[in-house]
């Protein structure tokens, strides 16, 4: 059974979670160029490696960030957005 640690609810089976896509820093739409904005909206980096991802713990409605190596499927850590330093 695959397990994932929710920052609020602890370690749970992966069936309690939903993947929410890669977390990417949004460029400032007021100051970035059109090409930068187009790249943010349309491009995705499919190369395997360590990525930040949105995950959702369905029973509690908790969105959080997981840092996961998509090559090895190893999750380094999970944390609530904005509480990265606390982990």
């Amino acid at each position: 059974m695959k397990l994932l640690e929710c920052p609020i609810n602890g370690i749970r089976p992966i069936s309690e979670f939903t993947y929410g896509g890669e977390y990417r820093n949004m460029p400032n739409p007021d100051t970035c160029s059109d090409s930068e904005w187009a790249a943010y909206v349309h491009y995705r980096n499919g190369a395997p490696g360590l990525k930040k991802e949105w995950w959702y713990h369905t029973p509690s409605g908790t969105w959080f960030i997981a840092e996961r190596n998509t090559m090895t499927d190893k999750v380094n850590r999970t944390y609530l957005l904005g509480q990265e330093e606390a982990k």
């Binding site: 609020i8 609810n9 749970r12 089976p13 069936s15 713990h57 369905t58 029973p59 509690s60």
Partner: protein
């Protein structure tokens, strides 16, 4: 104008059991499922009871704890834990900043909270439409071992902890409390999933020799 009957979210799933229904907090609910002696034996072995009719109040937000404290409620200090208010009303802390209050019969707490204005930022009332069950009996952990996503045989529910997990594919809030001197499990889920969860849990309960019991087994109705 029609005057609809406010039924328990489980009412149609319970209909084949032919319960004796009554009105609790304005909701038609199954008061008695079987003879008292049969209900008592089910209670000891494995039973499930629909208590969706109990009044509830939900509130969330970064200032929710402050708002409830101003209303003189004692709140759980830990995330995902619960406490009793004056040994009657349940106060559940769901995650970090959401609270659920459930009162037994003959309590006015939910009405008092509903009457309070929410006129500050960071406090949001949450409309609750839960289906809620009580599971009791010495085979309760056997039941949960078949359908619950996490192992409840350990200390997951010790020290007034609650868990938000999945039972039979349905997101639920689950805790264990003493009720009328006995340790029982409490389950809350979205009301629309209630009939499915009721049928699933009741099916397993009956396989183990238990069954459904009525609301009046736990709560005295005037």
């Amino acid at each position: 104008m029609q005057n609809g009957i406010f039924k328990s979210p489980i009412a149609f799933a319970q209909a084949p059991l032919k319960p004796i229904n009554g009105i609790v907090n304005g909701m038609e609910t199954a008061i008695t499922m079987a003879d008292k002696a049969i209900e008592a034996s089910r209670y000891e072995l494995l039973s499930i009871c629909d208590v969706s009719a109990l009044n509830r109040f939900g509130v969330k937000g970064p200032n929710a704890a402050e708002w409830l404290a101003a209303a003189s409620l004692t709140l759980p200090e830990e995330k995902n834990s619960w406490t009793l208010q004056g040994k009657r009303e349940l106060v559940l802390r769901l995650g970090s900043s959401e609270y659920l209050i459930e009162e037994p019969l003959n309590s006015q707490m939910v009405a008092q909270l509903n009457a309070l204005p929410v006129n500050q930022s960071g406090v949001h009332k949450v409309i609750r439409n839960d289906a809620s069950f009580i599971v009791s009996g010495k085979l309760a952990t056997t039941l949960f071992s078949e359908v619950c996503a996490i192992d409840l045989s350990g200390d997951a529910l010790e020290e007034n902890r609650l868990v938000m997990t999945v039972i039979a594919g349905v997101s639920v809030t689950l805790l264990r409390q003493m009720l009328n001197g006995q340790s029982v499990y409490r389950i809350w889920c979205d009301g629309t999933f209630g009939p499915y969860l009721w049928k699933t849990l009741l099916g397993i309960t009956e396989e183990h020799g238990g069954g459904a019991i009525g609301f009046s087994f736990y709560y005295e109705i005037n």
